[in-house]
């Protein structure tokens, strides 16, 4: 049975090879834009698509919301795919480019200045010197805090990791049995929190050369960040106690989200919160500040991720897809799209765009985009495996099951078997 389960998708892939776009209006080329977004995000995108279609008479773009990333991969594995342009995340670019499923954009988009996009995002878009994707949105991480809880505890928003440790201490409350009733620093995503803290301690997860990335889990800065987490949370309050408290957390970004509900005083999270909080927790008084750093020279250190647009290598209409891609990453479409989604525009010059200043607290994340210390995880072929192994190791560290050194040595060891190209 297992073998059948494994074999089936391969067959479905083969079966899908024949499907492709249908009839075309006279003189116009129809291209398909399959995107992973859905709901209100898809609506915003459809508006941009119809504007593009109305604005010229050579290309008709057909938008298809298809949030299934397995389907996306399947389409790209056959000789002729089902779409000409699609989206994904920055960390997938290297793996896909290495497998030859992305069309290089250097020649297709000669007149697009890649220097205009956030450099940390562009690092993810390149593989072996060629550009395989362009960012439409970027995301940065900053420290969100509950104003009321900080005021009550007499805590000022921390700027250094020492202050952060002290703040966590003051903002974590336990009852007479030692059970946690309020946690100083939450973790909406432990991997995001810990990789970001790694940068804040001067660490790097993929070496120092973006052109030749290699996993460096045991970098001293990374170990310092993991030790910080163990010392200020796990060891101080007990792994079991933290787990018991975490177990009662509601759904992320729902009205029961622990940060929204005041169970957690601070979280490291992305700019989408600026749109989500007014919607899901309108009563919450919150602020946002830069990620606290270990040394003054690290000020502004944080993590950036990217949402990308790419053209699959099996597209039959690469030129037309490129024209549309250029439109999407142009200033107007980028502004409209990111305003609708509450994401950061990927163009550095738009970091000061007044349109975004209307979103409360949004500028903190916009600032992070401009910081020379902003880093991104490498989009190398090993990215997916590395992320999974780091996820397991982080869990182990946060649970107190392993020391940071042990956990990261194990990841480094597994790294020897990662796909290199």
């Amino acid at each position: 049975m297992k073998i059948v389960k494994l074999g089936m998708p391969l067959l479905m892939v083969a079966a899908m090879a024949g499907c492709s776009g249908g009839g075309e209006p006279a003189g116009k080329t129809t291209i398909t834009f399959s995107y992973l977004w859905s709901g209100t995000e898809a609506e915003a995108l459809e508006k941009i698509i119809s504007e593009f279609n109305a604005g010229q008479d050579k290309i008709v773009v057909k938008g298809v919301s298809s949030p299934d990333s397995q389907k996306q991969l399947a389409s790209m594995s056959s000789a002729s795919g089902t779409f000409d342009i699609s989206d994904n995340f920055g960390n997938a670019v290297g793996s896909w480019a290495a497998k030859g499923i992305l069309a290089p954009l250097d020649d297709l988009l000669k007149d697009v200045d890649t220097g205009a996009f956030a450099p940390a995002a562009m690092n993810q878009m390149r593989y072996r010197g060629k550009t395989y994707a362009l960012p439409i949105s970027v995301h940065t991480f900053q420290l969100l805090y509950n104003k009321k809880l900080l005021d009550e505890a007499g805590v000022k928003p921390p700027t250094t990791t020492e202050e952060l440790a002290a703040a966590i201490g003051k903002l974590t409350k336990t009852d007479d049995k030692g059970a946690i009733t309020q946690l100083g620093l939450g973790n909406p995503s432990l991997p995001n929190s810990l990789t970001t803290l790694g940068y804040a301690f001067g660490g790097t997860w993929d070496g120092t050369d973006p052109a030749a990335p290699a996993p460096t889990p045991a970098d001293p800065g990374n170990l310092a960040a993991l030790t910080f987490w163990q010392d200020t949370i796990t060891k101080k309050y007990g792994a079991d106690k933290v787990a018991a408290f975490t177990a009662g957390w509601g759904q992320y970004m729902s009205a029961q989200d622990p940060f929204y509900a005041g169970k957690v005083a601070m979280v490291i999270d992305g700019e989408w919160q600026a749109v989500s909080i007014p919607k899901n927790a309108p009563e919450l008084e919150w602020g946002v500040t830069a990620i606290p750093v270990a040394r003054p020279d690290l000020a502004g250190a944080t993590q950036l991720t990217a949402s990308t647009l790419f053209i699959p290598a099996n597209s039959k209409h690469k030129q037309e897809a490129a024209v549309f891609l250029k439109h999407l990453v142009g200033e107007k479409a980028m502004r409209d799209f990111n305003l609708a989604l509450g994401n950061l525009p990927a163009r550095t010059a738009m970091a000061d765009d007044p349109a975004f200043a209307r979103i409360p607290n949004f500028t903190a994340w916009m600032e992070a985009m401009k910081s020379p210390k902003v880093r991104s995880l490498a989009s190398a072929p090993y990215a997916a495996e590395y992320a999974t192994d780091l996820g397991s190791a982080f869990d182990s560290v946060a649970r107190g099951g392993a020391t940071p050194q042990e956990a990261m040595a194990k990841v480094a060891d597994r790294g020897k078997n990662y796909a290199r190209d």
Partner: protein, 304 residues
Amino acid sequence: MRATERAGRRRELLRGLAFAAPFLIGFAVFIAYPILASFRYSFTDFNLFQEPQSVGLDNYARMLSDERMWQSLGNTLYLTALGVPLTIVIALAGAHVLNMPVRGQPLFRALVYLPTIVPVVVGGYLWRWLLNAQYGFVNHGLNLLGIPGPLWLENPDWSRPAIVLMSLWTVGGTMVIYLAALKDVPADLYEAAAIDGAGTWRRFTHITWPALSPVTLFQVIVTLIGFLQIFAQPYLLTQTRLNTSSGGPEDTMLSYAMYLFQNAFVFLKMGYASAMAWVLFLITLVITAVLLLTSRRWVHYGSR
């Protein structure tokens, strides 16, 4: 005469094949081909997009030193060792209870079977909340009994029992098969035993258990295969947001099938995943063979 007979037979054969064609073609294309293809891929480095590169036995050799593979295999065997006996015992006991002549018996039977028809994804999300350490009904119930509930999904010692617990929820299917088998045990045997003065336990050990043993063998094999391939339950219980692949606390909920899936569709290591699939197939084959060999000692056919 002979020639026409032969022609007639041939025509009959062709006609038979034509009628069986929908299955045969489906079997060849959707079952036989993928099985053979996965066997070939297991000796290659294959990422779904580029031509498979032959690597000989590398994939199998790498499995030996893959700590995570061993952990996932260990987890799976743990689940199997705990889950199979519990399934059999509970199903058998439950079948006896359902066999009692009480009012509303059909209703109880339907209720017991009900979870089996709930889609596993729905059941998965339901159990995530039932097993929630703070608000879950499981721990609420335990608290009422004065037992402090464990952190089911957060504690590495309790995460695997949590998966077994969730799997046992659908024990109704096994129970219903036992119930049907119970009805087939000849009543005269019980009557004879009663006359001889056999008590409930002796009637069970000397009549019911031997008479049910062929069904038990079937149930053990089916349940065993189910547990060795377990995927949906741990996958749903460990799923984090954005579908990031996770193995639960200390990777204790990473089943073999989940790790296989990760390799295939997250890391795109189709060759390695194919090798893993074949190893699981061999493990299943060996355990089943051992079970069938021992069955001569404890399975009784033709009790009547």
